[in-house]
Symmetry: C2
Subunit: 455 residues, 2 copies
């Protein structure tokens, strides 16, 4: 169903050449990294907050869906316009408005790339902690929409812990500010965190005030291999129970190591499981931190523990992890990438459970991820249609296992389309009802990113 | 207006002897540390989540207000039952349900005292960062309701950064769970943070899953005095712009020092202003941390810098800060205790501005507080009725100044009754409208803590 003519005219008045109705361009904005797709009726490229207000008001008048989009790196279909409507690409709202190290904050537009912000902060001695693997090409707006995190979360938190305030436009077309320019505040309801992780279903973020952290000047990398996944998972629990919190604590299982070895060569160790551990801090503090973490990494089932002394050695240690993504792609173009999370002490049960599910459903599964948060990327790699079907059955069992272990569906990818049917597994009916009521409060006509997140 | 008889009967069936209608007891629950008061029609003392559900359903049926109460240590009148109704004192829901250091979490009922939890965590090597000055006698539920923080917030964050999940009862009487048992999650809207700081206006918290932090085994205390408040405020900004974040960075102005000196004797230094600074970490890391913070503390206007070497010296350094509260009480029983917050770099302007306001309105003002967050406790100490009237006029100018400096009304005390009329200064009309819509989503009949927070 094409857009009503009066809406097209209104959009043209607001956006001029920054409105696109051409099919070629609409196709480019019809999918994201989930590989799901649906054609939008139009794409707009706002450059100001006022344009976003006008857009939402105009679309609301005609009950036309509005789908916010960063750079489409998400894996859940959260930016796929399943009901058509207008995709709002924030790629041209990409100004860093203020870098303010004295107040440990930065004010940015949503289209700023995570990596560009980190580059701009480097000479000031600060960083913004969330660091998804897609950091060079994902946008801050997208990071906020999905509460996307990354390895550093284990020490520094996710966007919810690293955002002070937002400017946004609700589904009514009303612009508003939430939060503060201060590192502390107790002035009314926390709408800032409510918007973070809401995947564009409550409001469109047009500006973010981010909390910055001083960048430690020292970093040391350790690599530990273990007899089996269970031994590695127990080491993770030991590391997290002592006071020195690493700034990365990544787990790679035996299947993933074998894959990486085939693809990356002999620099990748063959083992039952591997942990990559990083500790940061001022240089004088690193020897004692490395010692504390090493002590915890040792124990039943440890096979090797290497501590990089140089930048080259650090790179060599990370080679296995780096070889992993291309290796997976060679096996299955239809990778199903999950990011379940459990309490750290349940990680041994999760990795064991995943192995059993892989065997029972006869599906190739590769597990790795941010073990310090109990956040495992469970990648199902179906090699043909039959295995693909088995993979989907396996997925339901995986979520079931995770919930039984007191975990939840998503650590950092969000819900989108992909996990929406599983939400009632993770959340009570009364919680979902409240979320729906909150949705109505922000978006009474349900025009913001319909069909996502809430079942 | 007394409670309807059917409601009294229903409450009696639910609570038995844990319902109190006696005036003597109602009086005890009619006020909080704001010294405002209003008599409730009944007080109940739940011991289970199910009782809280029944209570809210019963009160909703009769449109009777329900006011949650921790230990009444708040200073804003947030627990005063201005419209009568039933005060729900959580003092008997005070079980620590689970201490789980392996997953860095604790599950508690809302009536657990902050100090009791810290004591229980000590042997495990962990702590819960929020540490209001009232920590020995304030409840976790109250801390969550007001997003109460304390000195350690500068390094470790407020309750919003240190809570993983909640169980609660909405204004509909429906129980629900929000959040996770994991240190990371992106499964739907963040209702956990939305409830934190909502002062019992959205839901009644019946259980909290708190994020624990390993307790560093080392701590060093520094005391710096300065020629004037402006020099000290500039030192704060320098300290916060370097990478070693102190775990306390407290500011005390000249008026406060003079008061403390009169009350506490010669161990309290006389100076233009003073900073109390604490750094924590593993013992090996402390010398370099102390050196980094000392370097930043030095500069224009520094008069002395003392570093405590022993526990006794640490106590001596803190003596001025400790003498402050009793000293204030001797001067004015009607202290107006504000907790405004500004970006750290605006602190010099704030302290200068407060001095000008004190002179212009002819009011005694003592300023001290959590400078590392830009959070200043501005205490107006009227000594008679005329000064009390001038103090109230001064307050309006203070909030005006704070907003002009990009600050906000409250850092950690919340809004309650006291700051409610000033909310439109701090928040746009559209933001307040959204907060009201959220309130309706959780509490459609407006029975939860009416007359608080939202104007």
């Amino acid at each position: 169903m094409p857009l009503p003519t009066p809406l097209i005219e209104a959009l043209r008045a607001t956006f001029g050449a920054d409105l696109s109705l051409a099919e070629a361009e609409r196709v480019a904005y019809s999918y994201d990294n989930s590989r799901l797709h649906a054609l939008p009726d139009a794409v707009v490229f706002p450059t100001t907050h006022a344009q976003v207000e006008a857009l939402v008001r105009q679309c609301r008048e005609h009950r036309v869906p509005v789908i916010a989009r960063g750079r489409g790196t998400n894996t859940t279909g959260a930016t796929v316009p399943v009901d058509g409507g207008v995709v709002v690409s924030f790629e041209r709202m990409n100004r860093i408005i203020r870098l303010d190290p004295d107040n440990r904050l930065a004010i940015v537009e949503p289209g700023v790339l995570n990596g560009d912000l980190q580059q701009a902060l480097k000479p000031l001695g600060f960083f913004w902690p969330p660091d998804p693997t897609s950091s060079p090409w994902c946008s801050i707006g997208g990071n906020l929409a999905c509460n996307s995190a990354g390895p550093r979360t284990v020490k520094y938190g996710s966007p919810r812990e690293n955002t002070l305030g937002l400017r946004a436009v609700a589904g009514t077309g009303e612009g508003f500010r939430a939060g503060t320019y201060t590192s502390k505040g107790s002035t009314g309801y926390d709408l800032t965190r409510l918007l973070i992780g809401s995947e564009g279903t409550l409001a469109l973020i047009t500006e973010a005030t981010l909390k910055l952290t001083p960048k430690p000047t020292g970093l040391r990398t350790l690599r530990a291999t273990y007899r089996d996944v269970s031994a590695a998972a127990h080491a993770v629990a030991r590391i997290m129970a002592q006071p020195v919190t690493p700034c990365a604590l990544e787990f790679i299982d035996d299947v993933a190591l074998r894959l990486a070895h085939e693809h990356g060569g002999d620099s990748v160790p063959m083992a039952g499981a591997m942990l990559m551990i990083e500790v940061d801090g001022e240089p004088e503090t690193l020897p004692s931190a490395v010692e504390a973490v090493s002590r915890a990494a040792r124990g039943e089932g440890l096979e090797s523990l290497d501590i990089a002394q140089t930048a080259e050695e650090t790179q060599a240690l990370w080679s296995a992890r780096k070889a992993l993504s291309p290796a997976q792609r060679t096996i299955s173009p239809n990778k199903i990438n999950e990011d379940v999370v459990v309490p750290v002490s349940r990680l041994p049960e999760l990795v064991d459970g995943v192995k059993q599910l892989a065997a029972r459903h006869n599906v190739l599964i590769v597990s790795f991820g941010h073990a310090g948060n109990g956040n495992l990327h469970v990648n199902l790699l179906p090699r043909d249609d039959a295995e693909r079907e088995r993979a989907h059955a396996c997925l339901a069992d995986l979520f079931d296992l995770v919930i039984r272990l007191d975990g939840t569906l998503s650590g950092e990818h969000g819900i989108g389309l992909a996990k929406r049917p599983f939400m009632p597994l993770a959340l009570q009916a009364s919680t979902l009802d409240l979320m729906r009521a909150v949705k109505s409060a922000f978006d009474p006509d349900g025009i913001l990113n319909p069909g996502k997140l809430l079942p």
